[in-house]
């Protein structure tokens, strides 16, 4: 691990969740596109505590995946690059690490799993080989030990007959099993933080439940932190302790899940929660948020949610609200909410 530790300048404002593992400050990531430079992530602040499950939610294109890729410094150059911010892992600013050091962080300290498990696995290698290879790379084990380790983690993710399955190829596995393999691979190096980018979106409801259950129990057993990226508010409610709500490249609300869901402060969060169909409410029209998510290169001035917002006041057109603390470990980026100490429902 690197010796270029930097002392965290925010170490004294720890959250309610004990030690901070990951601390992201003012992260901005931009892409060169045919329509000019687009800031897909535009000043994102958040932290993840040791062993904590934090959910990152938001609608398609709001920058969830780009945030995750930025943390691992995997944003595709040259079109995309991190243009501002710090990303501290246990006090070390990842953005200042040389690439060789960063490679040791990836997989070993922070692991990531993706939505589509098939594309992340090499179809011509056995799953056991692929896991063993990762283990050897990061932990320097012998071939034989690495294979044993591969079988162990496959067993850990509750794949039946792990020893046999290790010798099988990805296409012989169902979608749910493949996602288990991806999780096994991610866990093989005992990371401190697992980033799961929509890990269950491509799976069936019952399989989705299995995978989420598995992730939950593994997190508790291995004491790692989980950054769970999803667009399913139900998944957030059931699995996360804290939630970050993103809109058009920004985190616009943050806080403990039960509090945020019971009493959302940001008008967007409130609208989003109201538009979710729920069990036990028959055929009533859903509340909706009017309009569509704005294009990132054509954001309105002031608050970027303004032209869809039902709580907007004249000032919203000129002030770009920052994420302000509002007590109970909650923060919100809305001048109306901050002023009133919350939104009335």
């Amino acid at each position: 691990m690197s010796k270029v530790s930097t002392v965290s300048d925010v170490s004294d404002v720890r959250g309610t969740n004990g030690k901070r593992l990951l601390d992201v400050r003012g992260l901005a990531t931009a892409f060169d596109t045919s329509e000019g430079i687009v800031r897909a992530v535009d000043g994102v602040d958040f932290h993840v505590g040791e062993g904590e499950t934090v959910a990152l939610v938001g609608e398609s294109g709001c920058g969830k995946s780009v945030t995750a890729l930025s943390i691992l410094r995997l944003v595709q150059a040259p079109a995309g690059r991190i243009v501002a911010g710090r990303i501290e892992l246990a006090g070390v600013n990842l953005l200042e690490l040389p690439e060789a050091e960063m490679r040791k962080v990836r997989g070993a300290k922070i692991a990531m799993i993706f939505q589509e498990p098939m594309t992340s696995l090499n179809p011509v290698l056995t799953v056991g080989y692929q896991i063993a290879e990762a283990v050897r790379l990061h932990r320097g084990l012998s071939k034989r030990e690495a294979w044993k380790e591969a079988v162990r983690v496959l067993d850990l993710v509750e794949i039946p007959d792990a020893a046999e399955r290790a010798a099988g190829y990805p296409h012989q596995l169902s979608g749910g099993m493949r996602q288990r393999v991806m999780i096994a691979m991610a866990l093989s190096c005992d990371p401190r933080l697992l980033i799961a980018d929509e890990p269950t979106t491509a799976l069936d409801v019952t399989i989705q439940a299995q995978i989420l259950e598995l992730l939950d129990s593994l997190r508790a057993r291995l004491g790692m932190a989980l950054l769970l990226i999803t667009h399913d508010l139900g998944v957030v409610a059931e699995r996360a302790e804290r939630v970050l709500v993103m809109y058009a490249g920004r985190v616009i609300e943050e806080g403990p899940v039960d509090r945020v869901f019971a009493e959302p402060h940001h008008p967007y969060t409130r609208g989003l929660l109201r538009s979710v169909p729920r069990l036990g409410r028959e055929r009533a029209p859903l509340a909706t948020i009017p309009g569509v998510v704005p294009k990132l290169n054509a954001l309105p001035a002031g608050c970027r949610f303004r032209d869809r917002c039902d709580a907007a006041v004249a000032e919203c057109a000129s002030v770009d609200p920052a994420l302000e603390p509002l007590g109970e470990g909650r923060r919100v980026a809305c001048i109306v909410a901050t002023r009133r100490g919350g939104l009335e429902s």
């Binding site: 609608e59 398609s60 169902s174 749910g176 099993m177 069936d204 409801v205 019952t206 399989i207 989705q208 439940a209 299995q210 989420l212 259950e213 667009h231 399913d232 508010l233 139900g234 998944v235 409610a237 059931e238 699995r239 039960d258 869901f261 019971a262 609208g271 989003l272 929660l273 538009s275 979710v276 169909p277 729920r278 069990l279 036990g280 409410r281 028959e282 055929r283 009533a284 029209p285 859903l286 509340a287 909706t288 948020i289 569509v292 998510v293």
Partner: protein, 374 residues
């Protein structure tokens, strides 16, 4: 055909069943349903033949098996189930976009199989489809106005200026602005494209629409807009919907009746409210408990099903659900349960309905996972 150009092409002259005639002559199995149904599926079955392994010969996929449903005007039947259980195949069978291996579809009392290709094409204006993927469902080389208006042209309903006006009206109704008329699909977001798809389906004033996962590809807030639109249109026009989704939350939201499918068969069919308050089939119960809900962690007891969804290429013996069923008994492994009605609530499970929950005897009596919240 002679009646083809009237506005009720289904009323073909030689038809034995008088189309809209009340009760007379029809032997509706559900005595409670007063009017004869708009669309009726009887014993619908579809088997696909797929090339087997080398030297293995062809194998068959039983995509849909013996499905019976009745769609009434202004009513929605929600069809739920996991990927590959045959929902889309069923949707296409209902519209005769796929030919059934067995069974039939009656629209307004006329068996669609008896229509000539020409009459079938004429009949299509009464039954339409909305798709899941807003990107694949619009011809990328046609302008929005053409896409929406093509049906009018094909059926000779309107043309030229009149057609343009009707299209603009429809577009306004589904929430598209007039300037969309001359633009191409790729210039629109998923939600807007879905509106185009709905406008196209509505253009011919159909009476029955198959909505195949219309919001699955959309964001929640956009999906909510589309669901509301579909509900409003139903109230306005008395449309009947077959609403297909893998998401029970969405299905409950729009349906009067819900059909739960597993491996090509309906395993439970009941009024929506009963599905959510008193699901009887263990699969439905598991599905309900697997649905993540926003309403917090103080939730009902969770049943996480083990195992994978089996391949329809070689379905398990007996009850197809038995390898994953938490309450399966010996009988489940050998005998396929029938869909049995109990006061309008149909369930296909040996342990439900015959009042003898421990029929097999080698397993403790079933634990009911009551989905009602504490």
């Amino acid at each position: 055909m002679s009646a083809g150009s009237t506005n009720a092409p289904m009323a073909s002259a030689g038809s034995t069943n008088a189309p809209m005639a009340s009760a007379g002559g029809t032997n509706a199995p559900m005595a409670s349903a007063a009017a004869s149904p708009l669309l009726r599926a009887v014993g619908l079955t579809k088997t696909f033949r797929v090339a087997g392994r080398l030297f293995g010969g062809d194998r068959s996929v039983h995509a849909v098996t013996d499905v019976n449903l009745e769609f009434g005007a202004g009513r929605t039947i929600g069809i739920v189930g996991e990927s590959g259980c045959g929902k889309s195949t069923l949707g296409r069978l209902l519209l005769r976009l796929l030919l059934p291996t067995a069974g039939r579809v009656e629209f307004d009392g006329t068996d669609l199989a008896t229509l000539s290709p020409r009459d079938l094409r004429a009949a299509r204006r009464h039954m339409q489809i909305v798709f899941q993927d807003p990107y694949a469902s619009l011809n990328p080389r046609m302008k929005i106005g053409r896409i929406v208006g093509e049906g009018l042209e094909v059926h000779g309903v309107a043309s030229g200026k009149a057609a343009r006006e009707q299209v603009l009206e429809l577009m306004a109704r589904v929430g598209l602005t007039a300037d969309a008329y001359d633009r191409y699909p790729h210039e629109f977001s998923g939600g807007q494209r879905q509106r185009v798809g709905i406008a196209r389906a509505l253009a011919l004033s159909p009476r029955f629409i198959v909505a195949d996962e219309p919001v699955s590809a959309l964001d929640v807030s956009i999906g909510a807009q589309i669901l509301n639109l579909l509900l409003e249109l139903q109230d306005e026009r008395g449309l009947a919907y077959a609403f297909i989704s893998h998401d029970l939350r969405v299905v409950e939201h729009v349906s009067h009746q819900v059909a739960v499918m597993y491996l090509g068969r309906i395993v439970e069919l009941a009024p929506a409210r009963e599905i959510y308050t008193g699901a009887r089939h263990p699969y439905t119960q598991a599905l309900l408990s697997a649905v993540p809900t926003v309403d917090g962690k103080d939730r009902r007891q969770r049943v996480v099903l083990g195992g994978d969804v089996p391949s329809p290429l070689d379905p398990p013996s007996g009850c197809a659900f038995h390898p994953r069923c938490p309450i399966a008994v010996a009988r489940c492994r050998v005998e396929a349960p029938q869909l049995v009605s109990d006061g309008g609530h149909r369930t296909a499970c040996h342990l439900v309905g015959d009042g003898n929950p421990s029929a097999g005897g080698d397993v403790p009596p079933p634990v009911r996972h009551d989905p009602a919240p504490a």
